[in-house]
Symmetry: C3
Subunit: 473 residues, 3 copies
Amino acid sequence: MVAVALRCRLATFLVFAQIAFILLFAFFTEYDDDAKPIPRKLSDGSNPLHKYYPMFQDVHVMMFIGFGFLMTFLKKYGFSSVGLNMLIAATCIQWGTLCLGLFDCVETGRSRISLGITSLIEADIAAATVLISFGVVLGKTSALQLFVMLIVELVLYATNEWIVTDILKISDVGDSIIVHTFGAYFGLTVSVLLRRSELDEHPNEGSNYQSDLFAMIGTVFLWLYWPSFNAGLLTGEVQHRVVINTYYSLAACCVTAFAISALVDKHGRFNMVHIQNSTLAGGVAIGAAANLLVHPFGALIIGSSAAILSVLGYKYITPFLNSKLGIHDTCGVNNLHGMPGILAAIISSIAVSAASEQEYGYSLYEQYPAMAPPLNSTELTRIQRQFPDVTAGIGRTASAQAGMQIVAMLVTLGIAISGGIVAGVLLRLPGLASPPAESLFDDITAWEVPETEVYKPSESNNAVSPRSNNEIK
Amino acid sequence: MVAVALRCRLATFLVFAQIAFILLFAFFTEYDDDAKPIPRKLSDGSNPLHKYYPMFQDVHVMMFIGFGFLMTFLKKYGFSSVGLNMLIAATCIQWGTLCLGLFDCVETGRSRISLGITSLIEADIAAATVLISFGVVLGKTSALQLFVMLIVELVLYATNEWIVTDILKISDVGDSIIVHTFGAYFGLTVSVLLRRSELDEHPNEGSNYQSDLFAMIGTVFLWLYWPSFNAGLLTGEVQHRVVINTYYSLAACCVTAFAISALVDKHGRFNMVHIQNSTLAGGVAIGAAANLLVHPFGALIIGSSAAILSVLGYKYITPFLNSKLGIHDTCGVNNLHGMPGILAAIISSIAVSAASEQEYGYSLYEQYPAMAPPLNSTELTRIQRQFPDVTAGIGRTASAQAGMQIVAMLVTLGIAISGGIVAGVLLRLPGLASPPAESLFDDITAWEVPETEVYKPSESNNAVSPRSNNEIK
Amino acid sequence: MVAVALRCRLATFLVFAQIAFILLFAFFTEYDDDAKPIPRKLSDGSNPLHKYYPMFQDVHVMMFIGFGFLMTFLKKYGFSSVGLNMLIAATCIQWGTLCLGLFDCVETGRSRISLGITSLIEADIAAATVLISFGVVLGKTSALQLFVMLIVELVLYATNEWIVTDILKISDVGDSIIVHTFGAYFGLTVSVLLRRSELDEHPNEGSNYQSDLFAMIGTVFLWLYWPSFNAGLLTGEVQHRVVINTYYSLAACCVTAFAISALVDKHGRFNMVHIQNSTLAGGVAIGAAANLLVHPFGALIIGSSAAILSVLGYKYITPFLNSKLGIHDTCGVNNLHGMPGILAAIISSIAVSAASEQEYGYSLYEQYPAMAPPLNSTELTRIQRQFPDVTAGIGRTASAQAGMQIVAMLVTLGIAISGGIVAGVLLRLPGLASPPAESLFDDITAWEVPETEVYKPSESNNAVSPRSNNEIK
């Protein structure tokens, strides 16, 4: 009886949301000009699609394969990890398009959201934010709760993204502040509000040999395609530099994560949790400064630092947060996205404080538009005579820009945490099918799990090795 | 004795086929001009390869990882799913090149088949057709039977592709009619002819926890790269639009498939079969109309409709077909490729009936060449003065084109079903090593399965955790 | 106590190496000009990044997913396969950048190594060499030993690459000689020096059903992206031709590998070892000649020949080498990289012996620079008047070039084997934590393996299917 009601509730939510998305798309979206027919012309052979598509697909793989399989490390929660990840991301793609598009319309004064390859990348990146928060509450929430969370989170994500990028005018090419920091602390706040005593030492919360291998599929694809995540919306030599910085940051991060993982283990062994997660922290930590001339050796230092921070986080901070502060963090998101995201903001602040037009040329004003000379200044007139694309800034100094990177991080933390409180309160509403204590971290609450045990004596041996029947019985 | 004979038979078939392919390639193929040296020149820096290669590789991944792992859901048939999938696809690449090339030579009057990056994409797409049919008969056929099936199927596929594209002049950018509908109903017809009573409730026909996770690797890669499948051979703003339409159709399809899956389950749980398959139906259903101005909200509606059709198909139609009509469909191909393919044809018919030069510009005549003004008409002369590339059509009206899309679907169904009958009769020939009843859906018929049981009591605990021996014993 | 010391040793090595890399990068590297800001300019929209990035990412996936998962076939060594593969590759990326860059500076006279997208591809390819050697010694070495091996190997790899490419001036577009042959025989030599009696029939050395499926993820991605490996650093119509040749070589290789695998099995079944490895040999065998006009049917013959060589190698040569010559080769690298690499050199020698300017145009002199007319020859002057990029060669004839391809292979073998002896002696030094006999091919030496047995009687059934408890008990 209750099950029937719940069934209707989740399905009803999903159906209504999908209908709402269809209506909103009908009234508020249109194809980008680059995807519309050209009146009285043939197809145009060249199109921005070609430029963005390969990195778009890399980011797409990170969202669905990367995050999805990374979370399959839980031994009884694989269907949910990869399945609910897919449901969440596919919902975020639609809802994120609308939330981001709204602010885009506000900025540009257009009445319809324009859909093209760059907006697809942005929709995928919006999904990343929610998937990061999902990692914190993994195994402790119903699909219905997750759905409510994502609806709230993306509105706040888009708001924060607009404040940070368009008002505060900071640069965060790899979305370390906007996505990683936001998603992590939003999720951690929600987790505090969903705290329950049964989480302590729950027998389902752990991996097994196979689930750890499945998780490595996610880890490795995230690691490989991270340069595309950081560089996907950029162009020219800036994009090239972001790729190089991210590549070397991740390489150093991987080596250092292995080293520290062995060092903190009493037998000197590697720990799968660290390898699955901390090897990726270098991609986050370089994110807000990857466009800057940090030099390749700077990228290595940043990657190594992130690895140290992340492994020590898993070893010492996560248990502390859980036992002392009551913050349960299933995937250790604080160590992969949270602290490395804050580190990224600090690094970007230091790196930008030394940036000058001498070093960067006028592309500095593309990346940090507030640093461009102000309207009607002779300096601006001089530049615009040669490059009409440069827009007026406010003549912000490098150190002011450095400060603003930190302000943006603090604003992000503020919105993430207060938004997390709102979402957490909503998620505690009765009727959202919070999973029962014994079914935490268990697919059984949301999935038809296959009936037949593969290793069931009468037939299972066959499955793996028909010839070993006798030995086993 | 029988085994020895069979061994020779399969290997002999494969060896002879490979020798035949080598000879046919020697006499009938050559490199495309873009892959030949330029006499008395240096290498040309620009080459069409760059334009097509990223989407080619996406399609390539769909064929071998996507289809291959999607079918590993069967608990005892994983080696065959991914392994035979690889064998079939690698054979199809060669045989498909020849079959498609023959008709290409007929059209162009060339005496040799020209091999370049677009023909590689076409060969991969030809493989898709056979892999779809493979999904219907999965677990019920020997490698030898599959080999015979593919030889027959690709000849008919190329014939149908030629009729539908070059004679009937319809547009099917995502191959929903040409590949999905054809492959599904060809396979279903073969399956009817291979019907045997032992299929009912066969204990091997089912998944387990691990096999369902392996299958999700296939599902997610198919889902991610589907925009490349639909847009891979296109160019310019049409390609851009196909990517956008396919992306949003799949997003809506995913959300709706989860909703309907929960709705039709009596406990409101998600069913892995639906998630693995029905989330993809939106890619098929948009395929024949993805180039048209269906508007993003139209793409969402199409994706959602496909999901509803597909999940209900798995829930109600597949069991009905199996029990009442004797059509056994291992992967439920009718629900993922068959019915959504027919839906795609109907959608394309509706969408094209409203297409006009006013809306699409002259690119309409590139996509629907029969709609171009006829030879020697003043209208054509006027257009060609500006765009000499536009070729004469027959002045087909939009509603005639709409009708022709349906005719093409019916022709495809006719050729697929009659071809399936021929193939089915051939596959019933004795000596093709049809698997014995107890080994249906079991790798043991075709593979050396590893000897050692990993969880064998005496050493198995070790396999997972050597340190927990004592605790377990 | 010993464990503590060892822990410190490995971590210390890794930490010192990472610090050394940072210092060396600080003093000897810089961004490529294409990744530096353009003084007093805006960003440049066009950048070589776009041209190389898609194939770079394909190669990147091959290194980390391809090699990593291919080696997970061992039932108890999955963490090490994919994890240590990641550690090795991430280290090689840094150390390889430095080793290759040193010789690049020698050639160009620059004082700093220039880092850009092509150097990232080269660093990944350097990693391939070490990962191939890793395949030989898989399961028989500690992380510390592997680390020492890679440091030595990459120095010699870069030296050999410089001798073969810049001194002997041979062409090896797919690195069949430089990477595959070198890595295989270096590793095999190391393996001889690490020979120990406990390797015979070790119970851990084998696969299980799941581990074989994980391995197929690696196989299929390697197979799919091999055309990118062979063509990634090329351009224009040569690149196009390499893609076509590699694609068809692999297709024929796959079909033939299945055929021969069935043929050599007494029950006519396929063997997973052959399918996982021999299907790839065609990518190696075509590598050194893929730029030449071998004709598509030539590519099919080359792929088929490699498959025959490789499967027969697994069936007959590997057991022979192990039992008679004491060469233990865990992954059968000799059959996938070693012998096919030598075959590739021979094929390239035959194919180039027929190459002429008439057939290839002046692009011949780009690919085989020694064949260009010598300095101050009238012929060179004539060509340079039209194409100033063509540089003076030594007027080497086609047959001399053919001979030089063989010389290069012999030089490579010489350096690989003598380098392997040096590395092997180093690896036998006490204190490098060579794994104890009972823990060969076992993750337990290097990893914290999850404590909880998933199929532990009291709770395991739950793990797979909570509803089947009653049925099973």
